[in-house]
């Protein structure tokens, strides 16, 4: 596997191999000295055209735990703001010797475009509304390991609640969850669903109350305040009333149901209870797993080994 651009491009075997490899990375991350020499001499450049400190730090921590060199391209103070083209930026960095680019951009498809301009691996750290594959990996890992169900989510239902339309997290997770056998139900007003998704392997519900007692995982999406200005919801208050996790809805959750959120949370909008009071909350676990999942991705694209269908060195 040379790049990781989209969950859509993974086979189920590749997805589960990445999840299994994440177990190794969790073990490494749990050591007193959480570092292995696997990627010594490799350089990972994080190029975030859209700032996200937490995702960037997660990737850079992952790279360091694998002993890779890291290079941070700070768009805010760079020549991008002086009109340098995307291609020039990438070619310039590549000339410094980069083995993997970790790219985030507000526009869908940029990581794929970059693969045309460099021989380095490209890892999508979030592009527009399109994909955020490492988020899906860490979410799948968090969920499957919480349930202790291997890599198998069949018979389980995940509700993805909120702004699916503008969410790269939702697009990645819908695919990943269903690949592992889960049933996915989207809970959102019509304005926050994509214009056309009949061929998606999902069902929909109009209100959280309709499903909250039946689901195994409640996946809350971040509701961005600017959506209100675009007339997508009448008010954040009305949104919270229909789709927010209130304490009353929290009580209706199944006793072993998990609650996840990709962060950063909008308290008082999509989540109206203290996550610390939710026994099923895995929100901090997601952050922890994030580093390990990204180690798994970095190792896979940079170790030159594709994840073979049947494992086994020697």
């Amino acid at each position: 596997m040379k790049h990781l651009l989209s969950i859509e491009e993974l086979t189920t075997t590749q997805l589960t191999s990445l999840l299994d490899l994440t177990d190794h990375m969790v073990e490494i991350s749990g050591r007193p000295v959480p570092k292995v020499p696997a990627l010594r001499g490799r350089t990972v450049a994080s190029v975030f055209f859209e700032e996200s400190t937490r995702t960037r730090l997660s990737f850079e921590t992952a790279a360091k735990r694998l002993s890779a060199e890291t290079m941070t391209f700070n768009v805010g103070t760079s020549s991008v703001n002086k009109g340098e083209s995307l291609r020039d930026t990438i070619e310039t960095l590549a000339a410094m010797g980069v083995d993997a680019f970790v790219v985030r951009h507000k526009s869908s498809g940029v990581p794929r475009m970059i693969t045309e301009w460099t021989d380095a691996s490209v890892i999508n750290a979030g592009d527009g509304w399109h994909q955020h594959p490492t988020q899906a990996l860490l979410d799948c890992h968090t969920i499957t390991r919480s349930f202790g169900c291997g890599n198998d989510l069949s018979g389980r239902t995940v509700a993805i609640v909120g702004d699916v339309k503008h969410s790269r997290v939702a697009r990645s997770n819908i695919r990943a969850f269903t690949m592992l056998g889960a049933e996915v139900v989207l809970v959102a007003p019509r304005t926050l669903l994509p214009p056309e998704f009949i061929d998606w392997p999902v069902r929909t519900a109009d209100a959280l109350d309709d499903v909250v007692g039946d689901i195994d995982v409640l996946y809350l999406l971040r509701m961005q305040r600017e959506r209100m200005d675009a007339a997508l919801v009448p008010s954040l208050g009305e949104y919270s009333a229909r789709f927010g996790l209130t304490s009353q809805r929290a009580r209706q959750l199944k006793h072993d149901a998990l609650v996840l959120h990709p962060g950063p949370m909008n308290r008082g909008v999509e989540i109206l209870v203290d996550p610390a009071d939710l026994p099923g909350s895995r929100i901090l676990e997601q952050v922890r797993t994030g580093v390990s999942a990204r180690m798994s991705v970095l190792y896979t694209v940079l170790s030159g080994g594709s994840v073979p269908p049947t494992g086994g060195a020697e």
């Binding site: 191999s17 490899l21 177990d23 190794h24 969790v26 073990e27 490494i28 050591r31 000295v33 570092k35 292995v36 020499p37 696997a38 990627l39 694998l66 190792y299 940079l302 170790s303 030159g304 080994g305 594709s306 994840v307 073979p308 494992g311 086994g312 060195a313 020697e314």
Partner: protein, 186 residues
């Protein structure tokens, strides 16, 4: 391409005898089992470490020698030269610091995996000593590494493959063409 030839060099009984002897040697060399930890190298060394522990508790009474397993993929020197995919997650149930670790593998060949295992082990603590036990030493070392305990020395050709399991040890002779690519992999 030539047909592979598969020759049995140790029978299942031979393997059992060899491991029993190695278990005795380990105990003898270390004057008992105090502070001893057996760590099997993924994948082929794990069953042997478990077998050695069983032997030891059989003749040493009710003592339980701790057994762990270690995956050395992240420490290999051939990452990116070929696919290196970890097996099971490293699991060392006790703190190895101050203890004597016996690294266990099935076949000792170039020594590169053992080199990686030493590095991996040291990231888990600072053992008092590390010893190496293998079921088969087939020669062709590329690093200055020698085993402390050997089940059987078996001279092999570079192109041979050695297949070791509880059911016996087999040498598979393959054609040169096919073997050329596998050399770096072992």
């Amino acid at each position: 391409m030539a047909v592979d030839r598969r020759a049995e060099v140790l029978s299942a009984t031979d393997v059992g005898r060899a491991l029993t002897r190695v278990a005795h040697e380990i105990v003898e060399r270390n004057s008992g089992v105090a502070g001893l930890v057996l760590v099997g190298m993924q994948r082929g060394g794990v069953w042997i470490a478990e077998e050695l522990a069983r032997c030891i508790s059989r003749f040493e009474g009710q003592v339980e020698v701790p057994v762990g397993s270690i995956d050395v993929s992240m420490y290999r020197d051939d990452i990116a030269l070929r696919p290196v995919v970890p097996a099971a997650v490293t699991d060392i149930p006790v703190d190895i610091t101050g203890n004597t670790v016996v690294l266990v593998d099935d076949v000792l060949y170039t020594g590169r995996t053992v080199r990686a295992a030493l590095d991996a082990l040291l990231d888990h603590g600072r053992p008092r000593a590390v010893q190496l036990a293998v079921l088969v030493d087939r020669g062709h070392r590329e690093l200055p590494i020698r085993p402390d305990f050997v089940g059987k020395n078996i001279p092999t050709h570079l192109s041979d493959e050695v297949d070791a399991s509880m059911t016996g040890v087999f040498v598979v002779s393959t054609s040169i063409e096919k073997a050329a690519g596998k050399r770096a992999a072992s």
